[in-house]
């Protein structure tokens, strides 16, 4: 019925336009009509994007806004009034023109969509049961939305290889592939390493890497993300979980100082994967494979209880008691002037603000050594050599508190020379693993750490810290761009964020500072940074103030799906204290 009522619109357009283009309705823009609604877009915008801008969805597989146009999936065919001979035109390829009329839901278009889907699904194995893409698969979505017809194929489907290891991170299922060539175009145009191609012909066509050359690009993981079906799947994530159980938190990759925006997919208190989140200024919507795999320290080898003593004398104790013991030792050594602080650029700005506060006001230190992971590889696309997400933030904090930043290499030397007899480490990442030995000479070594490492064996007091998946916070990337990340799940077992541990140590030192949340840390200590982070609003993480408790966004949120229903706000945490402290009421 709706279509009948819309029919008069193209008919009402003048059948014989006068010679010469009509004057634009909105000068500088192109005005056209999509499903009876007027759209004003920039010249050159394609029909898919123009329709999307007013909330009309045109389905597509092969189109990707950051890749070249292939127009090979034929899913986006729509009726356009300027089409030659009234043919259906691919919406992804056709730019809008002044005054044209576009119909996306006529019976003709719907028939075409159904036919296209039937054709695409002709040899598709429909093995959603074992497919990791199930739940975020465009074939599933569009079948339910546009097709809903059983297959009419009565001969056996074409069988292809179901397990092709294209490279270290990507597994290909040739049967599921719909040959949209997004991956091929990505590797050629964005990764600039054309390692993929389409081999064979007709129904035997497959995506393949060149013989003897694996898909070993550092950006190959993105092909998994942009694959609209389950053909390319991540070897790391393979069969580890179902995406509809998982929720996503808006997070930042800690793999390097680029700080790619990520969605951190988690279930209960386990992080399963990172997916890139769109941010044109930082990572567009890509990230490197090393970054993708860098989530593992959030799950594995975590330190969950505080410890005291070295070697055989080691014993577990409550975190508050350990912090009190740590505070007592540190105070003693700071009085003697034999104390040094080691800050990790893996900690967030909030962590470092609280730590710097304790270092200056509680321990009277004037300099701080900077740890962090050793440098890695670098390229001209995303990856930075500095594999620490917050080195810039550390420098800003140190500057704000008047702490002199010193390189890590000076610290083992000072320990060997006996000038430093006690160290307080906020984060146990050090660039030189061999230097861990010298920490054994320390009389007291208070170490706040996420997990076990070479350095933690030398600690006299170990405090379990919570990484960025378990706290709200900010990283400042190498350009000086502050980026907020949000808490995905509460800190595991006995661990708590660095800022909280630092505050505990400060309490043992007799400081009056108390913090309830990372937000409070920022509110109290953030102003000390002055205008180092111009324009930065801590509550500016979009929709953070609309978050009750932590309502998760679904793993498939980029496609507008509903949140996963398993991981709601935990029962025992009915009210979010952090939210109660929020004084903004947007």
């Amino acid at each position: 019925m709706a279509d009948d009522t819309k029919q008069p619109t193209p008919a009402a357009a003048p059948p014989k336009p006068p010679p010469g283009p009509p004057p634009p309705k909105n000068p500088g823009f192109v005005t056209c009509t999509v499903d009876g609604r007027e759209v004003v877009v920039k010249a050159g915008t394609n029909v898919v994007e123009a329709a999307k801008s007013i909330g009309i969805e045109i389905p597509y597989y092969c189109y990707h806004k950051r890749l070249s146009i292939a127009a090979n999936c034929r899913m986006c065919l729509v009726e356009m009034s300027n089409a030659p001979m009234g043919k259906l035109m691919p919406g992804c390829q056709m730019p809008v023109a002044e005054g044209i009329t576009i119909q996306t839901a006529t019976p003709r278009v719907k028939d075409q969509q159904r036919a296209t889907l039937e054709f695409i699904l002709l040899n598709h194995p429909v093995d959603c049961a074992i497919c990791d893409q199930a739940g975020e698969c465009k074939l599933q979505d569009y079948y339910m939305q546009y097709d809903l017809k059983p297959s009419r194929l009565d001969v056996p489907k074409v069988q292809k290889d179901k397990r092709v290891q294209l490279g270290p991170g990507v597994t290909l299922d040739e049967e599921r592939c719909i040959l949209c060539t997004r991956c091929v175009r990505f590797m050629r145009e964005v990764a600039k390493q054309p390692q993929l191609g389409v081999a064979m012909r007709g129904s035997r066509s497959t995506i393949s890497a060149f013989p003897g050359q694996p898909l070993d690009s550092k950006y190959a993981g993105n092909t998994v993300d942009i694959c609209p079906v389950g053909a390319l799947t991540s070897t790391d994530f393979r069969f580890r979980g179902r995406v509809w159980f998982m929720s996503s938190a808006r997070s930042i990759c800690t793999g390097c100082s680029r700080g790619c925006n990520t969605l951190l997919d988690y279930l209960k208190d386990t992080t399963y994967r990172y997916r890139p989140r769109e941010n044109d200024a930082v990572n567009q919507e890509w990230m490197c494979d090393d970054g993708r795999r860098s989530y593992k320290y959030l799950n594995n080898d975590r330190l969950l209880v505080a410890r005291e003593g070295r070697g055989a004398a080691r014993r577990d104790l409550p975190a508050s008691a350990a912090a009190a013991a740590a505070g007592a030792t540190l105070k003693e050594h700071s009085a003697q002037g034999s104390l040094a602080a080691l800050f990790s650029p893996l900690a967030s700005v909030e962590d470092l603000l609280a730590a710097a506060l304790v270092a200056t006001e509680g321990l009277g230190l004037a300099e701080v050594f900077v740890g962090g992971r050793p440098d890695g590889w670098q390229d001209d696309f995303l990856k930075r050599a500095d594999e620490n997400p917050n080195r810039k933030g550390l420098e800003l904090v140190a500057q704000a508190f008047g702490l002199l930043v010193r390189p890590f290499a000076d610290l083992p030397r000072a320990i060997e020379a006996g000038r430093v007899k006690a160290v307080w480490a906020v984060g146990a990442e050090i660039p030189d693993a061999a230097a861990a030995e010298s920490f054994g000479k320390l009389e007291a070594f208070v170490c706040q750490t996420y997990g076990q490492g070479p350095l933690t064996r030398q600690a006299t007091v170990l405090l379990p810290a919570a990484p960025h998946s378990e706290m709200d916070g900010t990283f400042v990337n190498f350009e000086g761009r502050p980026q907020r990340f949000e808490l995905a799940y509460w800190p595991r077992e006995g661990s708590s964020p660095h800022w909280k541990l630092a505050a505990e140590v400060g309490k043992a030192l007799g400081l009056a500072w108390r913090f309830q949340s990372a937000r409070e840390v920022w509110k109290e200590l953030g102003p000390r940074l002055g205008d180092a982070l111009p324009g930065f609003v801590w509550d500016g993480l979009p929709s953070v103030s609309r978050r009750r408790g932590f309502l998760p966004i679904a793993a498939g949120t980029v496609d507008g799906r509903l949140p996963g229903y398993r991981e709601r706000v935990p029962e025992d945490v009915s009210g979010d204290t952090r939210f109660d402290l929020l004084d903004v009421s947007r």
Partner: protein
């Protein structure tokens, strides 16, 4: 006030007293001996029992059991394939639909099978289970059924009510024509056996209840007919 029964006139035999006593004892003895020696019947199907000797309708549970209707939702089982591996591909549909959240699955990968994915762990907490049967409905592979016709057996520990894949995997194997191991072959099935399985395989049932009624040899109904045959 109880109503009055008119005393009827006793005849001579009744007035002699002993014949009546002996007759009464005889009736009691007859019922006693009947139920004592013939009361226990092997046929679990109460309705199909031979009533000529004993009228006893009491069911001595658990030695005797009432047969359940074919659609009765009993204890779960994981349906095996002919090669002993489960049909289950760890798609998590049952765990997703389960309103009691009593199903826990961990997926793994076969290196050598036409279906790569299989459940390394498949655990059902029978104490949490509300026996709704949604898992059976949701299963796209006919890999979980509730056709065992038995209850979860009682136990002294809670842990014994948590059934893992080793206990759940039982019953007769099932294959359908569209099963990948029949279409593609499987290294774990010999070629002759595969031929036989292909010949025997049925089309995937569109109406689940038909298939459940046909489940061979694993329901109480089937046990009853077996017992009848003996």
């Amino acid at each position: 006030m109880p109503y009055q029964l008119p005393d009827s006139e006793l005849n001579l035999r009744e007035r002699l007293y002993f014949p009546e006593v002996i007759q009464g004892v005889g009736i009691i003895m007859k019922q006693f001996l009947r139920n004592f020696f013939f009361g226990r019947q092997k046929d679990p199907d109460v309705l199909a029992r031979d009533r000529s000797l004993s009228q006893n309708a009491t069911i001595a549970y658990p030695e005797e059991r009432v047969p359940y209707p074919p659609a009765y939702r009993g204890l779960h089982r994981l349906v095996p394939r002919e090669d002993g591996r489960p049909r289950c591909v760890a798609c998590y549909m049952c765990a997703t639909i389960c309103p009691a959240q009593c199903i826990y699955i961990e997926a793994g990968e076969y290196p050598d099978d036409p279906i790569e994915k299989y459940p390394v762990k498949f655990v059902i907490d029978e104490l949490r289970c509300v026996v709704c049967g949604f898992c059976v409905e949701a299963c796209p592979k006919d890999a979980i059924r509730m056709d065992t016709g038995e209850h979860a057996p009682p136990s002294y520990t809670r842990a014994a009510q948590v059934w893992d894949e080793k206990r759940l995997l039982r019953g007769p194997p099932v294959s359908y024509q569209n099963d990948p191991w029949l279409r593609r072959g499987s290294p774990s099935i010999s070629p002759e056996k595969l031929q036989e399985m292909r010949a025997r395989a049925k089309p995937f049932p569109l109406n689940a209840t038909d298939e459940y009624a046909q489940t061979p040899g694993f329901s109480v109904r089937a046990l009853a007919s077996e017992a009848k045959g003996k």
